[in-house]
Symmetry: C2
Subunit: 355 residues, 2 copies
């Protein structure tokens, strides 16, 4: 198994004064944790119970645990969003909380849509509390996300609301496209169609997270645009790595059964790229994936074929190109050197994701 590291910034320079990626994730998590808990505490007790379980708060999971912190990518992006424009951290708290609430809605509802009965190594919320309770908990969270931005005192609150709503619109559309692609034959799904789906499903909210703090602070439009573009490309890279981890990851770390996407007919990038290879192996991948759900006993053959045509390496290369595009967008924004270094550290950290 190769390393999933895609982007190597080299060893951290001793002179680098900014926070490293892990530290940014920790700070982002610490920033959004109190407002997230407050938002959940205001819900109906039975809805709050579903949310607390879903968020891992019932299991005495420390807000500083590695697993918990690793999941707060969007909060770290929100933190860098305000640091990029020299705005106060309270805008990052608002932005990170709103985006995190939307993200949690998407997890709650996507698990229902995808029939994923496991998350973080235990039953998904719908499997534990019932589909209805999980649907309602997601509804409650998206309303809280909107309320968080609406009730924020910030010069750019109106524009931030527009940003958030546009991101959620795109996310919902991306999820719809993801479901629609499941019903398509693999050979019909082009890489550009995959990219469009991933830009909506994951990229839009990442882009929003990277921009929203700056938008709340009423930062100049060119910087906001660059931050949103960078976040969007990082989101696509993140989604591709998610695809890779779903096939070759460690289920004990990802908390989801390996191969589930494959069986369900999910059009993940390694498959899309493998089926596009003009070779007997490539054609065989497309042929095998014509049957949905894929019979479990076909999984080893598909995995061998994917290795043979380099499906994993091709996907990782694609992710690396999106990471490079994100860094190029950040370069164009001419951020202060220290903040630019922090972006690199966070990107490097995300590129090494295993969960």
């Amino acid at each position: 198994m190769t390393d999933t590291s895609l982007y190597d910034t080299g060893p951290p320079r001793a002179s680098a004064p900014g926070a490293d990626g892990e530290e940014l994730l920790r700070r982002g998590a610490a920033l959004v944790d109190p407002p997230l808990r407050a938002a959940v505490a205001g819900l109906h007790p039975s809805t709050a119970a579903v949310c607390r379980y879903h968020l891992g708060w019932d299991a005495d999971e420390s807000p500083t645990s590695v697993r918990h912190v690793a999941k707060r990518v969007r909060a770290a992006l929100a933190l860098l969003s305000v640091r990029s424009v020299g705005a106060p951290e309270r805008f990052a708290a608002v932005a990170g909380t709103a985006v995190e609430l939307v993200h949690q809605l998407s997890l709650l509802h996507d698990d229902i849509m995808d029939g994923d009965a496991e998350r973080r190594g235990r039953p998904a919320a719908w499997a534990r509390f019932g589909t209805g309770a999980a649907v309602l908990a997601g509804d409650a969270l998206v309303v809280q996300a909107v309320a968080t931005v609406l009730r924020a005192e910030a010069p750019g609150a109106r524009a931030a609301m527009e940003d958030l709503i546009t991101a959620v619109e795109q996310m919902v559309e991306g999820q719809a496209e993801d479901l629609a692609l499941e019903r398509r034959a693999l050979r019909e799904v082009s890489t550009s169609r995959y990219a469009r789906m991933a830009r909506g499903k994951t990229g839009a909210l990442f882009g929003c997270a990277a921009a929203l703090g700056a938008v709340l602070a009423d930062a100049p439009a060119p910087v906001v645009r660059a931050l949103r573009a960078a976040g969007g490309d990082l989101g696509v890279a993140f989604q591709i790595l998610d695809d890779v981890l779903g096939l070759w990851g460690d289920g004990a770390l990802t908390g989801k059964p390996v191969g589930a996407d494959l069986v369900r007919g999910k059009k993940t990038l390694p498959l899309v790229l493998a089926a596009a290879v003009d070779s007997p192996e490539g054609r065989r991948v497309a042929e095998l994936l014509d049957v949905v759900p894929l019979p479990q006993d076909r999984v080893p053959e598909v995995m061998r074929l994917l290795e043979a045509v380099g499906g994993r390496e091709r996907a990782e290369e694609a992710a690396a190109r999106h990471v490079a595009a994100a860094l190029a967008a950040l370069d164009a924004a001419r951020l202060p050197g220290e903040v630019r270094q922090e972006w690199s550290s966070l990107v490097a950290c995300l590129s090494r994701r295993r969960r």
Copy 2:
């Protein structure tokens, strides 16, 4: 079977210059139909297909059909909201569309939560397209609702957003309470707890519909408060009539199987009131409803007991009290005579609901 009319304004006076209730429902439906269709048309094709089916647009249902118009209560409230303050109808179009989108989200998701496989006499959206597709369609609609108010050009747009979000928060909480009450013994559910649930589940969005147009027009706070209060009480009355129709209505008109709420353990007001009656019949109702789901062969006995203790009449009296409270709130608002008459006509029309 008695008439469900609760409030009789007498025959329409020949001199009344305002629109009658049916006409208001038609105008409200005509006002929100184009923006509703535009909102749905902008969604992902597969999500739009679910929404079109759910909204009855696939069945060549005329936007002026009785069944269709009868369902646009909230749009008619939005219309009266602007007429009450002399504001332009375009604010009613925004308000009615936003509220209707939220209402449709609630129907899509509530059918999943309640396991209702039928709506309007045909399979519910989740039963037709799958749970995942219906969950996503609801998510798409609530985002469109927020976007509708956000993108409106109106002096009170910021306040209107706060109103809408607060109403959706209360609606989600009311729905959570409704589900929580299903798991409670009937004797534990007081009328005040029922009222709190109904105020959230149905009253909040009715109140929002009745106020939002005026809020968008930046109307004076006392009038807005009176309109919201009136709408809230009408919503509770509407919910109570819904409970009554679920037990004694005509399934061919309501489009839902009669008695389904009863079997599921839904704490509808006729049951709550019947179980509170200190008589052998009242106690027997409470006892029978301890078992959830109620065995189908117990339904006739419960229906006989409900008749015996006057569960239906008591519920209808409660609805009439809420209607009276709504009219009192409107009186306090000192609306122009013609508009006040239109409110009475609409209220009378809603009180006669059979579907």
